[in-house]
């Protein structure tokens, strides 16, 4: 928070002039990226793609409320466009203020219940905001019934379909309250007319991206996991709408190897530590899939500070059973709750609340999968240590 501008500067500026966000946005095409999972990654990808033909401002620190958006714009006075990650709760207000050219809606599922309001009320407000912003083009997830209900209120829609094997959990219809079952084919509400729209862009489990006018490309990303293939597809779809040639958008996205520390590997004398972030059950399933693809030992670090959700009951919605047979350490402020979860899941583990210490104790290749504040803590310590190593390598090779 010591940077000029930054979230604090944004907050001060908004307090002095509430219309400032609107003012700064009028001169530049703005793309907002929102959804429960994938915001930061998709924002970084879209910014990289859009940078092919403009100089975008973007909130790379992930400060995604209204003041973070403003801070990004203030920090980049020479930018001629903006790509902003926006928390779902703040999206309606930021849509109203910035009248964005594009809004990307990735997915809507439960985040932490004690942090945000119920999902339906959040989605309803987004729907209302889109209805009131007729010049906005929405790039939205055709496979997600809540996203579709919100996005249908927009005048211009570009639908992106995730892989067929990705099914939503089963939701209550936003429009009529009927139940929508998870199905392998196209979904539809049993009680009303809401159903899956046909998509302009489609991506398969193995990264085949299909777009308009017969566009076809195999995505080969440096970022792991199927979720990143889907995030990339949204970024390419939005960048194409913005005017970037799809192949150039794909190339820009494929070049990214970390997103603000996520997936970043930090070398150790006896191996390396890879950092992974997961903030809710859907994110954890994806993180487990990334872990399963490598033979690493695993540290799971769980905090429950305000930003994480104060209660870790969600641990029981995560299939930690998938970690059986691996070397696992339970870590973070809520290591004790995690240990109970792992015990009942019959996953052998040890407990060490300090995740950096836990990684060192495991040795070799280690994946540290952490929730939000635990992730920030580990990233800060490992990044600082890496910076210190660069400036003054230790004589004994430790660190």
């Amino acid at each position: 928070m010591g940077r000029p501008g930054g979230v604090l500067g944004g907050r001060v500026a908004l307090a002095l002039d509430p219309g400032l966000l609107a003012e700064l946005a009028t001169s530049r095409p703005v793309a907002l990226v929102s959804g429960t999972n994938g915001k930061s990654t998709t924002t970084a990808m879209l910014a990289a793609a859009v940078a092919v033909r403009s100089r975008p401002a973007w909130n790379r620190t992930g400060a995604n409320m209204a003041d973070g958006a403003l801070a990004a714009l203030l920090d980049h006075p020479d930018a001629d466009s903006a790509v902003l990650e926006i928390d779902e709760g703040y999206l309606p207000g930021v849509i109203a203020q910035t009248r964005p050219a594009y809004v990307v809606l990735l997915n809507m599922s439960r985040d932490q219940l004690d942090r945000v309001g119920e999902v339906h009320s959040v989605v309803r407000r987004i729907r209302t905001a889109l209805a009131a912003s007729p010049r906005t083009t929405v790039i939205a997830n055709a496979g997600d019934p809540l996203v579709v209900a919100a996005a249908q209120a927009a005048e211009h829609r570009i639908w992106v379909a995730p892989p067929r094997t990705w099914r939503h959990d089963g939701v209550t219809c936003l429009l009529c309250g009927g139940h929508i079952d998870p199905v392998a084919t196209t979904w539809g509400c049993a009680e009303c007319a809401l159903r899956e729209p046909s998509a302009t862009w489609t991506v398969t489990e193995d990264g085949q991206l299909l777009g308009p006018d017969g566009y076809r490309r195999t995505l080969e990303l440096r970022l792991p996991g199927a979720a990143n293939l889907v995030n990339a597809s949204f970024a390419v779809a939005a960048a194409t709408a913005y005017g970037v040639a799809p192949d150039r958008a794909v190339d820009a996205v494929a070049g990214l190897d970390e997103i603000a520390g996520r997936y970043r590997s930090f070398p150790r004398p006896d191996g390396e530590t890879r950092l992974l972030l997961a903030k809710n059950p859907a994110g954890w399933s994806e993180t487990l899939a990334v872990i399963e693809a490598s033979p690493s030992a695993v540290v799971i670090a769980v905090n429950s500070r305000e930003a994480d959700g104060r209660d870790p009951s969600w641990l029981w919605d995560v299939p930690f059973e998938r970690l059986r047979g691996r070397r696992v350490m339970a870590s973070g402020d809520r290591a004790a709750d995690l240990a109970v979860r792992l015990a009942y899941a019959e996953v052998d583990h040890e407990v060490e609340p300090d995740p950096v210490m836990a990684a060192r104790m495991l040795g070799g290749r280690v994946d540290v999968a952490a929730d939000y504040t635990a992730f920030l803590g580990v990233r800060a310590r490992l990044a600082r240590a890496a910076a210190e190593d660069r400036t003054s390598p230790r004589a004994d090779g430790t660190g």
Binding site: T172, S313, W316, A339, V340, L342, D354, V356
Partner: protein, 247 residues
């Protein structure tokens, strides 16, 4: 000696009542039986509720999902039929609310509950969110405080034939100014505690299991659970800061 049949644990409507990790309660029950050498299986119920299970577990959920869950569970013979047959029920949060006479829905209107429990639920002005410690009022649980995390907008008032599960020491509980948490009626236990409640409170888990199998169970030590309870029940104090000089 005849082989005991598998204990069947019904996880009721986790697709609707599953926003808070409460399906973990079914996991805890199953494992605590398996670790004692008994067979147990979890039956996931997403349609009408079958009457042939031994224990039924309902969790918490969002308002609109709760209304649907109540409709499902009301389809005869349903949960009522199971309770009349003597089944054991654990109902958490929204699950507890739908078992009552009526509950407040998302539209502000009252919805009929299943009428299994003598209680009604209305809307609180402020959500009750936070850690709870409660002293059980059920003799079988004497001496073992209940711990959990509550997060509910509902206030549940118990009628004359419903006994509270526990007395609140810290937190809100049922939220009608009676200082009580949860409810017990026969073999039906309702609570506002998440955690999940049975992960945090093994004595309650074992009480439900003993009701279901009809005999006492040998003790079971799960060290991680004891360590967690010790942390959750210790008086609050500032935790030491991480040593920042550790690379």
């Amino acid at each position: 000696m005849p082989t005991e049949s598998a204990v069947r644990i019904a996880s009721v409507s986790p697709d609707l009542l599953g926003t808070y990790g409460d399906k973990g309660n079914a996991e805890v029950l199953r494992q605590r039986l398996r670790w004692r050498g008994r067979t147990a299986e979890i039956v996931t119920v997403t349609g009408a509720v079958p009457t042939g299970c031994d224990i039924y577990v309902l969790g918490g959920g969002e308002d609109s999902a709760q209304v649907l869950a109540a409709q499902r569970a009301a389809r005869p013979p349903g949960l009522r039929g199971a309770v009349e047959r003597g089944a054991v029920v654990l109902a958490v949060c929204a699950g507890l609310q739908i078992l009552g006479e009526r509950f407040a829905g998302p539209d502000g209107h009252d919805h009929a509950g299943l009428g299994v429990l003598d209680l009604t639920t209305t809307r609180r002005v402020r959500r009750a969110v936070g850690e709870v410690v409660a002293t059980p009022l059920v003799p079988e649980l004497a001496g073992t405080p209940l711990t959990g995390f509550e997060n509910h907008g509902g206030a549940t008032r118990l009628g004359p034939t419903a006994r509270p599960l526990a007395r609140v020491e810290s937190g809100v509980g049922n939220g009608c100014g009676q200082g009580t948490e949860g409810v017990v009626a026969g073999r039906v236990v309702g609570t506002y505690l998440h955690g999940p409640v049975l992960a945090r409170n093994p004595a309650l888990a074992d009480l439900l299991l003993e009701w279901a199998v009809g005999e006492p169970l040998p003790p079971l030590q799960v060290p991680a659970v004891e360590q967690l309870r010790e942390r959750r029940l210790r008086p609050r104090r500032r935790l030491p800061r991480l040593n920042r000089s550790t690379p």
